[in-house]
């Protein structure tokens, strides 16, 4: 089981799912009509490390964070 965490303005509680890679997370979220419009603009971190590969493997207990568009300052 891995945890999906929604940061910043996405009003959504954490979700726990079975997933072996980010591709599984993508497949899951693309089916959710409330979340799928965000996907184009989300950066992804696994255990607080940003990643740019859908093939990144996931292990039991991993935390996947979704980061929407930012604007500090």
């Amino acid at each position: 089981m891995i945890t999906i965490e929604f940061l910043g303005p996405i009003a959504q509680e954490d979700i726990t799912i079975e997933a072996n890679s980010l591709q599984d997370v993508a497949d899951f979220l693309q089916k959710d009509p409330k979340l799928s419009p965000w996907l184009d603009s989300l950066a992804i971190a696994i255990n607080d490390k940003l990643t740019d590969s859908l093939d990144a493997p996931l292990n039991d207990g991993d935390r996947v964070s979704l980061l929407p568009p930012v604007c500090g300052g």
């Binding site: 910043g8 303005p9 980061l67 929407p68 568009p69």
Partner: protein
């Protein structure tokens, strides 16, 4: 701490004075702070900020390393929560032996901060907190999960 997260508005005079006191004897020739102040516009009362601190810290550390390779040093303070108009929410600074490196670093650092620091901004209008979506930027690498196989 070179990276400070503070609840509510910053105190620019105190922060600049503290940083100056801590650094002026370290033989840097140039000290360039960038002070961000909340502008009164579009009827906002305040801005409000969410910060994801673990990734902000990683982002900041990677910039500190870039600065170190040029003999320079970065400092930064940012608010979380509400910051009213004419108050300060963000101060960054570079200290460098050389003027040219200092000017280049403060520019690159502040621009990358706007684009990639994991901080979310909300307009506060009549007490309501509204995500500043139009002024926000997808981070580097965003869109990964929208890709099809």
């Amino acid at each position: 701490m070179m990276l400070e997260i503070i609840d509510g508005p910053l105190s620019p005079k105190e922060i600049l004075a503290q940083w100056y006191d801590e650094e002026y004897e370290a033989n840097y020739g140039a000290f360039i702070p960038f002070v961000g102040i909340v502008r009164e516009e579009d009827g906002i009362e305040a801005l409000s900020f969410d910060i994801y601190e673990p990734i902000l810290k990683n982002w900041f550390d990677s910039w500190q390393e870039k600065a170190r390779q040029r003999g320079a040093k970065l400092r930064m303070a940012h608010s979380k929560g509400d910051v009213r108009v004419h108050e300060s929410s963000y101060i960054a600074a570079v200290l460098s032996p050389q003027r040219r490196a200092a000017l280049e670093l403060i520019d690159a650092f502040v621009e990358d901060f706007k684009a990639n620091a994991p901080i979310w901004k909300y307009d506060v209008i009549q007490g309501e907190r509204i995500y500043a979506k139009k002024r926000s930027t997808p981070m580097n690498g965003a869109g990964l999960l929208a890709k099809k196989d």
